[in-house]
């Protein structure tokens, strides 16, 4: 089996590198990068548009092109998150939490450098782990059920305790409000509508992208206007900016264990079908926040570890998420759903057959994704100076641009104008929170992970009650439970350790 996998991996790589096959991932990456720079558009829109285009193509070019489209969108979305607090795609929302504060401190180049290095290494890590796991893929996927999803979400929710800084009570209140916001829409168990006030708009719950755009991008833009800060970075000349791309790359290397740990998180979450990059980014961010060292900036205040963790997890997830898609035909995201369509149009039916008879094409897809991830990171680094120039553009020029981008991003997310109003409402709310020193990150963390926790909590309870699963005999769920308890206890122990000498 191992020899079969190795041969297929080599054959897949040779297929990608052969002329003119190599053009497909390169062109696909460049197109995806352009699209990903436009907030709210994302790779999935591009893939949907590309499906009819590839009808008459051979299977191999289709596979290579779609692999590149998947990989190209991820990193560039984080560039807008860092520069403007406007996430290009939903998972990039985690990157902006510390990436944009770094840009405000004049360290956008460092943030982008760290994001590029983490992105490239994270994706490579994810792909290497996957190649090793292909023989055990089905068994691994089946290890994850509702108890594991529930505990994963709960562990992620403990991030709230780590990102509240000195105001634990305020952080918990905001986290609680975030969980209440996550409950808007259909009840996970009964499908009864909650807090919708009869509005069809709220039936699907509060949309993440408009809320995140409001709480972060629009809040910061309002702050820029009110405080009359001259530029995003506070500097007016490029030479005054601190940080370099090299510094960002070095920071990533210095935090290599964090990078690898986050990549592991991203890989595992990617393998779990239907979980997605947003959960991967936020869980990795939370894990980094909980293990933050003293001395550096607080999380949410421009800590480079807050960029490294979500970026590496998000890119590691990309490769991993392909495997449940290919092994079971179960897509983890809109992007992989579209990939499924593109493959089946060409007679490549996901499942055991493709994993045994077309494994070389599976690897060609993985290598195209790998190539695309590296290419995006390298091109991103190459254009970092023109991009960071935007952080010294005068506020009077930049504010209308950010407002327009954020509004259009909110609209483009689902094509609904109401989303723009919601973004502005949360923008004002976020501004009030910022002005009065209330943390905003707990609200977003709760909004991302709350629904996942609630649905799987109910399923687990019912399955446990009727004897279909035994929570206490699930090693992965128990490990996550231990991690959750530790995540809650460690800040308390740290607090006691730091406060005791003063009391004495």
């Amino acid at each position: 089996m191992l020899q079969h996998v190795t041969e297929a991996a080599v054959e897949g790589l040779l297929l990608v590198l052969a002329w003119p096959n190599i053009l497909y991932p390169i062109v696909g990456t460049l197109i995806a990068m352009g699209f990903a720079f436009m907030p709210g558009v994302g790779g999935s829109t591009l893939m949907a548009l590309a499906i009819p285009l590839t009808f008459r193509w051979e299977p191999l070019p289709t596979v290579l092109f779609f692999g590149a489209l998947m990989g190209g969108a991820t990193f560039m979305g984080s560039v807008t998150a860092i520069l403007f607090n406007v996430p290009g795609t939903t998972p990039n929302a985690a990157t902006m939490l510390d990436g944009h504060p770094m840009a405000r401190q004049g360290r956008a180049r460092t943030a982008i450098g760290a994001a590029a290095a983490s992105s490239a290494i994270g994706s490579s890590f994810g792909i290497l782990v996957l190649i090793g796991m292909i023989p055990l893929l089905r068994q691994t996927i089946l290890l994850f059920g509702p108890p594991e999803f529930m505990m994963l979400a709960l562990w992620g929710l403990t991030t709230i305790a780590a990102v509240t800084g000195d105001s634990i009570v305020r952080g918990l209140i905001v986290g609680g409000l975030g969980l209440m916001m996550a409950m808007v829409g259909a009840d996970a168990r009964t499908a009864e509508l909650r807090y919708t006030f009869g509005s069809p708009y709220l039936v699907d719950g509060l949309p993440l992208i408009p809320v995140a755009l409001g709480l972060f991008a629009l809040t910061e833009t309002l702050d820029l206007m009110v405080t009359n800060r001259p530029t995003i970075s506070g500097r007016t000349r490029l030479e005054e900016l601190g940080g370099t791309v090299r510094e960002g790359i070095v920071e990533s290397m210095r935090n290599i264990w964090l990078l690898l740990r986050s990549s592991c998180i991203g890989t595992v979450i990617g393998i779990i079908p239907g979980t997605g990059g947003t959960v991967a980014s936020f869980v990795a961010y939370g894990s980094a926040a909980r293990s933050t060292r003293r001395g550096g900036p607080e999380f949410g205040q421009g800590n480079v570890r807050g960029v490294i963790a979500p970026e590496s997890a998000n890119d590691a997830k990309d490769g991993a998420s392909l495997l449940p898609t290919l092994a079971f035909g179960i897509p983890g995201s809109t992007g992989t759903a579209l990939l499924l369509v593109a493959l089946t149009v060409h007679g490549l039916t996901p499942g055991r057959y493709i994993m045994t008879h077309n494994l070389n094409l599976v690897f060609a897809l993985i290598w195209a994704l790998f190539l695309s991830n590296w290419l995006t990171s390298m091109l991103g680094v190459a254009v970092v100076n023109p991009l960071t120039r935007l952080t010294v553009v005068r506020t009077q020029v930049l504010v209308p641009v950010i407002l327009t981008l954020a509004s259009a991003g909110a609209w483009a997310f689902r094509g609904r104008v109401t989303d723009v109003f919601v973004a502005f409402a949360f923008g004002f709310l976020g501004y009030l929170m910022k002005k009065h020193d209330w943390p905003r990150i707990p609200a977003i963390v709760a909004l991302v992970l709350g629904p996942m926790f609630e649905a799987n909590f109910h399923i687990t309870l019912r399955l446990h009650r009727i004897g279909r699963v035994s929570f206490w005999h699930r090693p992965i769920a128990m490990t996550l439970l231990v991690l959750t308890v530790l995540s809650l206890l460690l800040p308390l122990l740290r607090y006691r350790a730091t406060s005791s000498p003063e009391e004495a």
């Binding site: 499908a191 809109t334 007679g347 109910h458 399955l463």
Partner: protein
Amino acid sequence: MGKGKDSGRAFKVTWAAVVFAVSAAGLLLAARGPWAQRSRSSPGQRDRIRWIVPAATGGGFDTLSRLIEPYYEDALGAYLRIDNIAGAGTIIGSEALKRAEPDGRTIGILNAPGLLVTGLAGQMRTPDLQESYSILGRLMGSQQVLLAGADSTVRNVDDLLAHAGQAPLVCGVTEIGASNFVSMVVAAHLLDIEVEFISGYSSSPQLVLAAVRGEVDLVCGTFASRLDAIEEGDLRPILQLTTERIASHPSLDGVPVLGGPEGLAARRAAELGRDVSAAVELAEALDQVFRVGRIVAAPKGLEAETYDRMEEGLHRAASHEEFRQSAARIRFPVEAVRGPEARKQLQDAVTGARRIAPLVSEAIEKARAP
């Protein structure tokens, strides 16, 4: 975040910034909008028609729409632009189609069974399909099938019936009141078996995994969407919830059909001493609700000439060999039906929905009980 060195200076927006912002927005809209789909389009030469997809990019409705798009464009001599308006289980997009002007410039695809089933749950107002739309045709039907996990103790319909009067069978559903829930409720009633619902699985594919993991005994779904899992050996069809055999696929050999005079519902009713004709009618009602499938419609009030042109165009596009081949490759069982016939199917579906409504309402109430 204290005040900067320019603090106190009035905030002014420059004209250059406004122009730049508008350009950026235009670029974004051009990329996001369906204008991006056809670079060959040039305004003024051909009409533009907006095709509303009431679901997100990438789903079955979106894919089917994009598959037929080029053929329908050729048939109409117009450009279609696909507009995804997702939300509230296709209600928001369907409402948008209902509110559009009936001028032949806006059409859309509707999830008729989904809207009818949502209406049964009674929580949301759904558009009246007969009163709100001019039906141009149907692209695909929807045939429901009852399935068990490959390792389940329920291996066939005899095993299923053996559970009657014993411990309830565990059935996974996406949510109470969803299509898979409704199908199971009617089937369980007709077969007189006890079912316990586990709801909250985030998507239909997650239900497949739940069955493979052995968490649930049964799942319901459309045959076409479960075909991959069936062929992989992950799921086994137990019962066809239709009035006739769904397809000639070998996995359905020996799998009984629920409806029809010789169907399992009739035989079971006779065994139980129930009203056989009522059982047959109920099974047919279930089939009618789903058979109507994915319909293409325009807002009500289309002029007769425009209707004829669009209806004929859809028929030609849906009959196009290339379209049918592409759809077959992605396991979309296209069964095109012309406008008048689709309207009749819709009428039957509405009647069928009314017939199963009391049963479904009772089951929803029971499932929601704490």
